[in-house]
Symmetry: C2
Subunit: 157 residues, 2 copies
Amino acid sequence: MQNICINRGTLYDILYMHSFDSTGFFRSVGLRDTLPRRLVITALTEIGRPVSHKEVHEWLKKKRTAINLVTVYRILEKFETLGLVHKQPTSGGFVLCALSAEHGHHGFLSCQQCGTVEEFADPDLCRVENAIARKAGFIPASHLSEIVGICSTCHAA
Amino acid sequence: MQNICINRGTLYDILYMHSFDSTGFFRSVGLRDTLPRRLVITALTEIGRPVSHKEVHEWLKKKRTAINLVTVYRILEKFETLGLVHKQPTSGGFVLCALSAEHGHHGFLSCQQCGTVEEFADPDLCRVENAIARKAGFIPASHLSEIVGICSTCHAA
DNA sequence: AAAATTAATGCAAAATATTTGCATTAACAG
DNA sequence: CTGTTAATGCAAATATTTTGCATTAATTTT
């Protein structure tokens, strides 16, 4: 159930709420089509920026469509395994930085298996990211890149 | 105090513990050179992977150099403002993904001011990241890029 | 269309994690 | 050494996340 891929067209429909066939969608991923789940999708769509569980919960309360906070947790957890929703994957912990923050860029290679994290700095990457930002009319302050995978030691073993 | 830049050579010294002049280092950033601070640096250096506050605390306890968990919080918070330590910057919240996870890549442009997050997919970026991974003998499973800055709307206003 | 099945929800409470206030300790300037 | 004050420790308040179980409601079966 972890790596189910979701059809991009469907996601587009969800985002813009045109003709979103929730029953069909949920059925296709083996879940029931429930009101709380539709409401969470609505909330995320309308809010349109990263939010905490609590914020989703409160947004719904304001709309008088409150559902239990515990349910919000469970729904988002499930959505995450579907790739429908995204949460920063790292342990969220601290790493001592090998490279100064002066570049405003932090790059990490983190191994899923042994948990090792290597830090890197790559001028190409910075350049590409700056270009992306510029194209979007964005003034970049800092970059963060994380590449999750299997390190050489682990896949040798 | 937010954007103090730390000398890269000093960080290298810290990491490898050769001739680390803790007093000089802390003084240069306007902090006192205390045992708990030196211990936290040692812990992060020795552990060498992302850790939670609790893990740092427990590691120190095992070494019989326990310091209070609250202190660990405060030290890491301070270190973070120095850029000595790094923690994923996003609110850590959820975003509804516009793009399917099938590429294994998530790119976000997130505005510091208004909190808006735009999602992007960029083949160049993927290519560069794959190259970085390959060079390090890494088998990449997924990428995450976040560009933090000011969006066009905000800097127009 | 009703009954049966069982996933999903809500509620209460437990477990964790984080923050705050204040008294005490210890860095360090003079 | 002494005084000053940043930094720490402790206790307790808050906030966040998880768990167990009874109930509800979506879907399947008859």
